[in-house]
Symmetry: C2
């Protein structure tokens, strides 16, 4: 199946305008059919040995969201204290999540024991199943952007808080807790770039040829 | 920036027709500008604390490719022996990589010490930087598909073989070794699904609401 140039450009537009959204969520609900399309795209990520180790837990319940929010606040206090004085002040002023403002949360997991202990392609590199679930996150993120829906990844939270809030068994791995919703706008640049936290690295400095640091 | 319905459908078409390519590579070279677009898309993946921990090593050199191929063959022998008798026969008949046939290899890495020891968003979950580099792999994969270029992920190989072949320093993590090239065709389904290795899981069984296994 051929992708045309117009279709290709739509993919690039989506990739380059995707943002990590924390502060621009609108309460407008996400229709069920839209959410289903996004999750179906996530489900069509590549997976090692075709094991499809992911699950998606959709969170709309307010009580569950409040437990997640408390978990973030607790972990964020510990995190702030890890920065030196100057960065700490800047850190504390950042809006880092939209757990309560976004209409939908999605927890992405990885069942490492799915389809038995020996998995084609995971024999040498055991982390491949975790990486498959991360690929599902990125598919989800781009599909959401294509639906004009923003996504934010909440990584400042302990796995056991998420497991407890969502009754997730001990042997299932948490990959991501994502916040989804329509937005007032997509920023033209990543927020941390805009605010001067770190600059965008020149892409050429990231590309090497036939060996490390070879140009 | 709004994504139109036509553009959205192009993104879905790309996501659903993306394949892990092992056996359909053509020798036709990938033009430099096309490769640069694909790598620029990878470079615009989300990254924890905007640390952009990835690097991309483009491999065209035949000697380097042969070292990678030998590393795969060695690891694949060990891997085959891990399956029970019935699966082992099926396993041995599978084409699992296109290292020598594909015109371009790309090694994606992660520099975990980039921008210092304390990284915004990695304070609680240390694996977040590795996951950022995996998001870059998935951006690369979809951008390549949008260019009608196939990608295969070679995971049956030890990191130290890749490091040695590409002079990658000890403290840099290997995330993926990818094979890229134009293809004779994109299969309509994943090869492991077609061959009956494992079935496609029903997407509804992967979706839960407000708690594990809640429908």
């Amino acid at each position: 199946m051929k992708i045309t140039e117009l279709e290709r450009d739509a993919v690039y537009k989506t990739i380059f305008s995707r943002r990590d959204v924390r502060g621009q969520f609108k309460p407008k609900p996400i229709p069920d059919d839209v959410l289903k399309r996004i999750l179906t795209a996530a489900h069509h990520a590549p997976s090692v040995g075709f094991m499809q180790p992911w699950d998606f837990i959709v969170v709309k319940n307010q009580v569950v969201k409040e437990k997640i929010k408390l978990g973030f606040e607790d972990a964020n206090k510990t995190s702030a204290a890890m920065f030196d004085d100057e960065k700490m002040q800047q850190y504390k002023n950042l809006k880092l999540e939209g757990i309560l403002e976004s209409p939908v949360g999605i927890c992405v997991t990885c069942d490492r024991s799915r389809n038995g202990p020996v998995v084609l392609g995971r024999t040498i590199n055991p982390e491949m199943d975790l990486y498959s679930s991360v690929c599902a996150v990125q598919n989800l993120w781009l599909a959401a952007r294509a639906e004009n829906i923003g996504v934010g990844w909440v990584s400042i939270i302990h796995d056991d808080v998420i497991k407890s809030a969502l009754n997730i068994p001990e042997d299932i791995n948490i990959i991501a807790y994502l916040c989804l919703g329509y937005v007032t706008q997509f920023n033209d640049k990543p927020e941390l770039e805009k605010l001067g936290w770190l600059p965008r690295r020149d892409v050429d400095s990231a590309i090497h040829f036939d060996g490390w640091k070879q140009k």
